[in-house]
C-alpha cells in the first residue's frame, strides 16, 4: 500500500516540478501520436466515407476486412513493418528503423481501420433524408456528400479522438520500431515499461497520470463541442 501511495505522491511532485526528461517523453508521445492520427485521418476518413457513401461490388467484404483489422495486435504490425524497414528489408536503404517516422508508419496501420470503421458507422447513421433533401435542392454528388459529411462531423471527430487515444496508449509498435531511444523515440508507454523493468515506479506513475489526463482532456473537449451543438 505504501508503495502505491509513495509512488503516487512522488509522481505528483515530479509532474509539478516539470521534470525535463518527463517533458521530453510527453513531447515525443504527443508529436508522434498527433502525426499518426493526422495521417490516419487523411487516409481513413475519405476511405470510410467512400465505403459508406458509395455502392460497389465487394463493399461488405471491405467492411468485414476493416473490422477484422481492428483486432490487429501491435506486435504483429511491429513485426510486419520491421520486415520492410530493417536493413535487410526492401525499404532498408531509407534508414527508417528506430526513428519516429517508423513509429508513425506502424501506428497509422494500427489506427487506419479505427478511423475508417468509425467514419463508416458515423456516415451510415445519418438519416437518408439528408441525402434526398440535398438532391431535391439541386445539389450534385459532391455537394450532397459534403452535406452528409457535415451532418456526420461529430462521429468523425470521435473517430479521430478514439484513434489518438489508441496510438498514445500503445506500446508494441513504439518499442519495436522506435527502439525506446531516450530523447528521440521514448514515449510515455515505452518509458513506463522501462521504468517498470528497472523497478522504479515514480516516473512510470507520473507518466500514467499524464496519459490519463490527456485522454480525459481530449474527451472533455469533444463533449464540450458536442454540448455546444446540442444546446
Amino acid at each position: 500500500m505504501n508503495l502505491i501511495v509513495d509512488s503516487f505522491l512522488s509522481a505528483i511532485n515530479l509532474i509539478l516540478s516539470l521534470d525535463a526528461e518527463m517533458i521530453k517523453i510527453v513531447e515525443v508521445s504527443l508529436s508522434v501520436s498527433a502525426a499518426s492520427t493526422l495521417f490516419a485521418g487523411v487516409i481513413g476518413i475519405p476511405l470510410g466515407f467512400f465505403v459508406a457513401f458509395e455502392s460497389f461490388p465487394g463493399k461488405r467484404l471491405v467492411i468485414t476486412l476493416l473490422n477484422t483489422l481492428l483486432a490487429l495486435p501491435t506486435v504483429v504490425i511491429g513485426l510486419f513493418v520491421y520486415a520492410f524497414i530493417s536493413r535487410r528489408g526492401i525499404f532498408g536503404a531509407l534508414d527508417l528503423l528506430y526513428t519516429q517516422k517508423a513509429m508513425v508508419i506502424g501506428q497509422v496501420i494500427l489506427v487506419l481501420p479505427i478511423v475508417a470503421t468509425f467514419t463508416i458507422a458515423a456516415i451510415s447513421r445519418i438519416d437518408e433524408r439528408y441525402r434526398k433533401t440535398a438532391m431535391t435542392l439541386g445539389a450534385d454528388r459532391l455537394q450532397t456528400a459534403s452535406v452528409i459529411f457535415r451532418e456526420a462531423r461529430f462521429g468523425i471527430v470521435a473517430a479521430l479522438v478514439a484513434s489518438f487515444g489508441r496510438v498514445i496508449a500503445e506500446v508494441g509498435i513504439s518499442m519495436m520500431l522506435g527502439g525506446n531511444a531516450r530523447g528521440f523515440t521514448r514515449t510515455m508507454t515505452t518509458a513506463m515499461a522501462l521504468e517498470y523493468d528497472k523497478g522504479q515506479f515514480v516516473l512510470a506513475v507520473a507518466l500514467g497520470i499524464i496519459l490519463l489526463g490527456i485522454s480525459f482532456g481530449l474527451n472533455l473537449l469533444f463533449n464540450f463541442f458536442q454540448g455546444r451543438y446540442d444546446r
Partner: protein
Amino acid sequence: MTLYRLSQLTKTYNDRTVLDIPFLEIEGGKIYALMGPNGAGKTTLLNILAFLDVPTGGSLYFNSRPVQFSDAALQPLRKEVAMVDQHPILFTTTVYKNLEFGLKVRKIARGERERMINEALEMVGMQEFAQAPAHRLSGGETQRVALARAFAVAPKVLLCDEPTANVDEENQAIILRILKQINELKGISILFTTHDRSQALSLAQEILLLNRGRIVTAANLDCEAPRRKLAGNPAG
C-alpha cells in the same frame, strides 16, 4: 402551358407494378392535389416528378422536353423543381443557412441570396428565427422552414408530400395559406399529396385520384360538378 407530360409511365418493384399511368398532363401555374389511399403510388409519382426516382418504362416530358434518365441529365433538372418531404429534415445549422444551401448550389450572389432568404422567411412568418438552430424548431416551424427552403430557390414546381400531415391545426392553416401565396404571388406550380378531401377541395384547382398506381380520376375543380362529386367520393 404543360409542365409535365407522362406517357405509358410505369414503375415496378420486384415484379410488382406500383405505378401505371397511360397518360397525364400537369399544367404550369396550377395547384394539384394528389389523393389516394396508402400504397396507391403517390410518393413514387412525386419522386419521379422530382427526378429523384427513375420510371421502369414510358416517357416523361418536362417543359416540353423529353427527360433522359441518366444521373448527369437529371441533376440539372432537379434545380427546376423542389420537394418537401412528409417529415422534412433540416440541416443541423441555422435556419438561414438551411435556406442558403439551395441558393449557393445555384451560385446566386451573396446580396441576392440574402434578399431571397429574407423574402422566403417573411412569407412563412419565420424571419425572427433566421439565426436559430434549425434542429431546435417545433414540427410546425420545421415544416414552414422546409417550405421556405424549397420555394426560396424559385422552382418551377413545388412538390409536397402530405405537407400538413404532422402538424397541429393552427400550423395546418398557416401552411395552406403559404402554399396558396406561393402559387398566387410567385406563380409556382404546386402538386401536393393529401388524404384530406376538404383540404384538397379548398386549395387545389385540379385533383388527381390515384389508386393501385393508376389515375382513376382527374378533375378540374373550376367546374362545380366534379367538386360536388369529389366531396362525396370516399377514395382517399
